[in-house]
């Protein structure tokens, strides 16, 4: 109501994105900055930027190290690098026992356990944990990928390896977490539990910060909502316009709530499958069954996803669907329910572990579904943001009725720490915005 939302950027998305990328590369090339930060909303071409920047730096003869957070992220980057720069000598620094995935065998990527073995490579890629073990090497440049997911103590272990760095990440996702109480360090500018970018910027307030303005992942149906609800001060738009992507399904057979919500989501990009209001434990058997059944139904309906990359359409197989939950126990229960339905290939994971990943269609168990009381964990803005921004075509949410009332009754008494930037918007407002949209695509399920 009073939050002064900035308007999303206007104009040709490809031109907008190209201009933003050019500005980043110009800052890198100028040599005027020790670091450059790039904020990237969900699916805004972060990897594309990393691959381009790697190419430019390599072309100028600068050796480069790339820091990613997980082994999957390392492999994904390597595949993109090998595609875009097939002649660039690229190294992968790995733990004992790692073997290159098939997609990388026969490419210019070589694998080694020791940094010495990769001295001839123009680009070396590894996880932050692996980089922390490297001694006696130094690179003029580094790219730190998913830097908002990285804890600042992890950056502390690798920053000695590079002179300058490009930090890329999504500020709207879940903050890194610790397993112990971290309040005693909150007032420190170098709080080890904070994200790497927050600490970096507190110590280097003059570093240029760029923003990628176009989400190539989120469809036109999702970008405005995700931008307004989670990025009110740094808006973005979708790379595709309304109608440029479509999701088609074969005719429904059961004509039940599952079929209806699949059709609703195919038409609008959103679907809410609403179960009757009831308070449940974390393991809401009914909701778990509904989530698994809905995912299995998506498969059974023989969908086809048509988009700018796949104008002829691709079948919506299990690898293009994911299920997002909040707790480990929910994940285990959904997996178990999927085994009963024979749909084991569908990825089920918690919001934390879905960060940075992309699918055509997602099925989400709402973090507040069935809860007697909202908690900070379940209200966390980043959790909902991750869950609502993994999809290229449609997001289907399963929830019990009654979440607005739950939010209304939620007492707000967050502790305040000096020196900690306020995360904004707060979970309450973001949740209301998402619920308001979902309410327009509601289908009731009465088990």
């Amino acid at each position: 109501m009073t939050t002064a939302h900035t308007r999303a950027p206007q104009g040709d998305p490809a031109a907008l994105a190209a201009a933003a990328t050019a500005a980043v590369l110009a800052d890198l090339g100028s040599g005027a900055h020790r670091g450059v930060v790039v904020d990237s909303p969900p699916g805004a071409g972060k990897s594309t930027l990393v691959v381009r920047a790697a190419g430019e730096l390599a072309a100028s003869g600068e050796r480069l190290m790339i820091v990613a957070q997980t082994n999957n992220q390392v492999d994904d980057l390597l595949v993109r690098l090998a595609e875009e720069h097939p002649h660039l000598p690229v190294g992968r620094l790995s733990a004992t026992g790692y073997r290159l995935p098939p997609a990388l065998v026969g490419t210019s990527v070589s694998n080694a356990e020791k940094a010495e073995a990769l001295d001839a490579c123009a680009v070396v890629v590894a996880t932050a944990a692996k980089w922390a073990l490297v001694q006696d090497r130094r690179w003029p440049w580094a790219i730190v990928d998913e830097a908002y997911q990285m804890r600042s103590d992890a950056l502390l272990l690798v920053a000695r390896l590079f002179d300058r760095a490009l930090f890329v990440g999504d500020p709207g996702q879940l903050d890194p977490f610790a397993t112990v109480d971290t309040s005693r360090w909150h007032s420190l500018s170098y709080d080890p539990s904070q994200s790497a970018v927050v600490v970096l910027r507190r110590h280097n307030p003059d570093l240029p910060v760029h923003r990628l303005p176009v989400s190539w992942r989120l469809p036109a149906s999702a970008a405005p909502l995700v931008s307004d609800a989670f990025y009110p001060f740094t808006p973005f738009r979708s790379g595709t316009g309304p109608g440029e992507r479509s999701l088609r399904f074969e005719a429904a057979r059961e004509h039940d709530a599952y079929d209806t919500v699949v059709d609703v989501a195919a038409g609008s990009g959103w679907g809410l499958l609403e179960l009757p209001a009831r308070f449940t434990g974390a393991a809401d058997e009914e909701a778990v069954r509904a989530v698994a059944t809905l995912a299995a139904r998506l498969l059974a309906r023989g969908g086809t996803a048509v988009g700018e990359r796949t104008p002829a359409g691709v079948p919506l197989d299990a690898s293009r669907i994911a299920i997002g939950v909040s707790h480990r126990e929910q994940r285990a229960r959904v997996e178990s329910a999927l085994r009963d339905l024979g749909a084991t290939e569908i990825v089920v994971d918690t919001a934390n572990r879905l960060q940075g990943r992309e699918f055509d269609v997602t099925v989400v168990l709402h973090p507040l579904s069935g809860r007697r009381d909202a908690t900070e964990f379940h209200l966390e803005t980043g959790r909902l943001c991750v869950l609502a921004s993994r999809h290229r075509h449609a997001c289907l949410v399963v929830a019990r009725a009654g979440i607005p009332e739950l939010l209304d009754a939620h007492p707000t008494a967050n502790p305040v720490h000096l020196g900690v930037p306020v995360s904004f918007p707060d979970g309450w407002e973001a949740n209301q915005a998402v619920l308001a949209e979902l309410g327009r695509h509601r289908v009731s399920l009465t088990p």
Partner: protein, 514 residues
């Protein structure tokens, strides 16, 4: 919260008596703990008002400050407290054992270490602030304090820091110890009141816990913050003391000198003693209750870590070059502290559930463990795994269980009763679990004798496996990278910097409240 723990609270509320929350005690309990019950003056950042302290329940020592805003009296109090605490804290350093370390020099570890017990978490914060307000004091110059004061500050700081390490037992709050062991029929917030918590657990004869707890509420507080109603009574006593001091300064009758002041001080001490003594008695009652519980199997191992920390700290104190702990940690030490605490937390979580069937029950309920009887064993089973040339022993174990673990095929499991065994899930169906053993059998072509469980054994398996993580190699302080502000200035070169370590008088040395 687990439904199993929640049931404990429900049952307590329904019966009126506390229920077990654990089957063992998960913290070390010293045979001779130092009990410390502190009070501070309201409204001040840190102005000690009184402590009851001692290792003998029958001989509490009351140290009180009749005018807590008077700087000299404040430090006299700190010196007096140092006199009580330091001999005890230092007493364990002499007797040591030599511990060999792989890839490092052996070190001396004391055979025992001190333990300080305070009533509530506020008592831990009290020691932190006591440490912060005394460790930088000078023992010479214009604002000199007695030698014990800065030393007490360094010990208090060590205690409070160590208390933040999960599983440590050198400084513990009685409310934490009791709530780990018992569930009451009130909320966790109300359990923060030692009086009502203990009333639930140990009501007077013939009373129910819930009744006793209600009666205990509103009585003398366990501190360190005082009850405002008590403060109302204290105001005239302190005023009377101030007047006595002022009057005697002007009086020149030798005979009366000191007597009025002494009486006024005694009135303050009496009031404080009456307010503090109930908590003192509760502390020792708590010690009795906790000693009656058996210690968890891993408690001694964690106490070893406390003993090592104690020995390192005591050795550092003895080094004339050593400085007080800095006001705030630098970037490197903060990161190392966080990592160390996370490792301790992981160890604690894994050890506690293995030590305690009641905690493990919650893991089983959540589908992350099962307990079952071994009904069939194929000890001879050999498997050639993909990519391997030779077949390895992979004994097949079939369990019958009523638990409902949520394991998918391939999940790796550890065993509570056989800590070396490692197994993988093959088939998980209702009531029946097939595992293949792949670790803990020795490296031979056949499992080493006794390493394969036998039919009839009842075992508990869990997917919660504590990974051993080595402490990373943190950069040296002078190599702090630019991303984290670069190397901090040399100690002493910038006295105002947050990382300054040199002892310097704070402004509060100069100031006094009226």
């Amino acid at each position: 919260m687990s439904t199993i723990a929640a049931l404990g609270r429900l049952r307590a509320a329904a019966t009126g008596y506390a229920q077990p929350a654990a089957t063992v005690r998960h913290r070390h309990l010293s045979a001779r703990p130092m009990v410390l019950v502190p009070y501070v003056l309201a409204g001040e950042a840190f102005a000690p008002l009184a402590v009851l302290v001692g290792t003998d329940r029958d001989r509490p020592h009351l140290l009180a400050v009749p005018q807590p805003r008077d700087r000299d009296r404040r430090f006299a109090h700190a010196a007096e407290l140092a006199g009580r605490l330091l001999p005890h804290l230092g007493a364990f350093a002499a007797e040591t054992e030599t511990i060999e370390r792989r890839g490092d020099d052996p070190y001396e570890r004391s055979l025992d270490a001190p333990q300080v017990l305070v009533p509530t978490a506020g008592g831990i914060e009290y020691l932190r602030l006591l440490g912060r307000s005394t460790r930088f004091r000078r023992t010479d110059g214009e604002f000199a304090v007695p030698a014990g004061v800065p030393l007490l500050g360094r010990w208090s700081t060590w205690l409070a820091d160590r208390a933040g390490v999960p599983g440590s037992s050198v400084l513990l709050a009685m409310t934490d110890l009791l709530t780990q062991a018992w569930a009451t029929g009130q909320s966790a917030m109300e359990d923060g009141d030692l009086a009502s918590l203990l009333a639930w657990i140990d009501p007077p004869a013939g009373r129910r816990g819930d009744e006793a707890a209600r009666e205990a509420e509103g009585g003398p507080t366990a501190g360190p913050a005082t009850d405002p109603a008590f403060d109302e009574r204290l105001v005239p006593l302190i005023t009377a003391f101030d007047e006595a001091v002022a009057a005697e300064r002007e009086s020149d009758e030798d005979a009366a000198r000191g007597e009025r002041e002494r009486r006024a001080e005694q009135a303050i001490r009496d009031a404080l003693a009456a307010e503090l003594m109930p908590t003192w008695d509760r502390m020792w009652r708590g010690v009795d209750l906790l000693s009656a519980l058996p210690a968890g199997a891993s408690v001694a191992g964690r106490w070893e870590a406390d003993r090592a920390s104690y020995s390192f700290f005591a050795a550092d104190l003895a080094d004339p070059e050593s400085r007080p702990q800095p006001r705030v940690p630098g970037a490197i030490s903060a990161a190392a502290q966080l990592a160390g605490r996370e490792r301790a937390q992981a160890r604690l979580d894994a050890e506690q559930v293995r030590d305690d069937p009641l905690l493990m029950a919650a893991v089983r309920l959540a589908g992350e463990a099962f307990r079952g009887e071994l009904i069939a064993v194929d000890a001879e089973r050999m498997v050639t795994e993909p990519g391997k040339k030779t077949a390895r022993p992979r004994p097949l174990l079939v369990f019958r269980t009523e638990d409902e673990p949520l394991f998918g095929p391939g999940t790796e499991l550890a065993c509570v009763e056989r800590p070396d065994a490692k197994a993988r899930v093959l088939v998980n169906e209702p009531g029946r679990m097939e595992l293949e053993l792949f670790g803990g059998m020795g490296g031979g072509k056949a499992p080493k004798p006794g390493s394969v469980p036998e039919r009839g054994e009842v075992l508990c398996w869990t997917s919660l496996i504590a990974e051993f993580r080595r402490s990373p190699d943190w950069p040296a302080v002078e190599d702090t990278p630019w991303t984290h502000g670069g190397p901090p200035p040399e100690p002493g070169s910038e006295p105002d910097s947050a990382t300054a370590t040199g002892p310097e008088p704070d402004d509060d040395a100069l100031e006094e409240w009226s």
